[in-house]
Amino acid sequence: MRNVCVIAGGQSIWGVRKATQRDIFQEAGKACFQDNPAVSNKDIDGIIVGSAYTERCSFQTHLAPLVAEYLGIQPKNLCVRVELLCATGSSGIILACAMIKSGQADVVMVVGGEKLYTPQRWEINYSELASVDHDWDSSMGLGLPPPVFAAVAKQHMKLYGTTEEQMAMVSVKNRRNGLNNPKGQFREEINLETAINAKAIVPPMKLYDCCPVTDGAAAVILAAEEKAKYLTDKPLVYIRGTAQASLHNMSANFSNWTTWESLRIAARQAYTKARVTAGDINVAQTHDCFTISEIIEYEDLGFCEKGEGGYFIQEGKSDFGGQVPVNTDGGLLSCGHPFGATGIRQGIEIMRQLRGDAVKQVEGARIGLTHNLSGFIAAHTVLIYGRDLE
């Protein structure tokens, strides 16, 4: 099977945008082609478009040919949309990778995004009720995730002694990392005191413990290795291993709220395929939708022992200069979280880190990881990127 490289990536400005969904997709496409002038829209033979809320917020289905048309792409091998809520973008990358590996396509753009703010500002709180099991969890008023993650945090605190201060340290770090990210939603530093004294959303989750609602899009181009050699002058970045796992969907079937078994499975699968271990990862973008998520992810990705996630952030092990810098571009907490775009944004940051041209560079990074959780912590998606194949 063929090797797959990521050869270009770019994103729109993320935030509360005075723009339509299609405006934002165009911005991301432009930024992606601008990143690598050696590849043009004429080289693309497949497109995968990701969006979770296109029908709900923009009344638009059949999105892939629409986005292709706007980007001047006329795909001949693949033209499809994917959706896995918060992991939509990563899912697109996984499928593009498989299509290229198997010879179904040679050069594929994966572009994802959301336009979530509508003229009725209260609407999104209500629309998100469609994100979990509609007939059982939504009818309980779940949907917007803070209650779920507050329940996770309370249990993790009780079991392992994790503190609100340790959670606040995650948001302080990620805000600091996102300070010079020109496309991110928040670019102001916060200190520990501000984070701890912020208004409650669902205690113990406070304002800065939660990622925001975001309009935005992002795009990457993947190519078979032999094509990639001609389509970029930059160092090649390989996709070495990918996996997704899901053990439940509805809340009643979530058996362990503080050890995310499907994340452990996805991580193990991805590490095995990539022939690496957790200790080999030089830089990671993990799904910090809430500060407690990032803490549990340190544990279940194997960066530290179970229950020691709070100490991992406290001791600076996920910061620059530490064991494995996490969310080096600011993560969801700084950049925002347009569902269809998030996994792609993470992939772009890892590509830049491994090429050596990131805004905040981890020196000498050779192996990178991205992770998303989605829905009621119902599915986990892990991708491993590398500068080398072995």
Partner: protein, 157 residues
């Protein structure tokens, strides 16, 4: 100018299930709720219970299912109190709790009739069933029939 969008621009969403036999094969669940019973389906072939109720057993693929009662009281394991961002149609603060139904099932359920700080770990809660927005169904000759619906939550004992 009159607008079809006035007062309902892009916002209407039915947050409750289609419960009647016209739309749903597990409609007895909702009939049982009206009797104060919380039920689910059990497989007559392999004996396993599933929640939510099914039309097919996910363990052995059998369609030979029967209804079984679940406990209607439980113990609170974790409490959450949502103070910001509560969706339309729900009260603020919106209280949820992870509750243990006598070891048979854990539910992350809405708790009605509680103020902030009122519900604690270890408290007992019981099932409460209440009417929710009726479903407007197209009848003959332009008549709209409102189908009554119920849903459930828990309340402090």
């Amino acid at each position: 100018m009159n607008s079809a969008l006035e007062g309902k621009y892009a916002v209407t969403m039915d947050m409750y299930p289609l419960e009647s036999s016209d739309f749903n094969r597990i409609h007895p669940f909702y009939d049982h709720l009206k009797e104060g019973r919380l039920t689910t389906t059990r497989c007559r072939d392999c004996g396993k219970k599933s929640f939510p109720p099914r039309v097919m057993c996910p363990h052995c693929m059998s369609e030979n299912l029967e209804w079984a009662d679940l406990p209607v009281t439980g113990t609170v394991l974790v409490v959450t109190e949502e103070e910001v961002g509560v969706p339309v149609g729900f009260e603020t603060p919106l209280i949820h709790a992870l509750i243990d139904l006598s070891g048979e099932l854990s539910l992350f359920a809405r708790i009605r009739g509680c103020k902030t700080g009122e519900l604690k770990e270890g408290d007992q809660v019981k099932l409460t069933v209440f009417p929710v927005d009726p479903l407007p169904v197209d009848g003959k000759k332009g008549v709209v029939i409102l189908q009554e619906r119920v849903f459930f939550a828990f309340e402090k004992l």
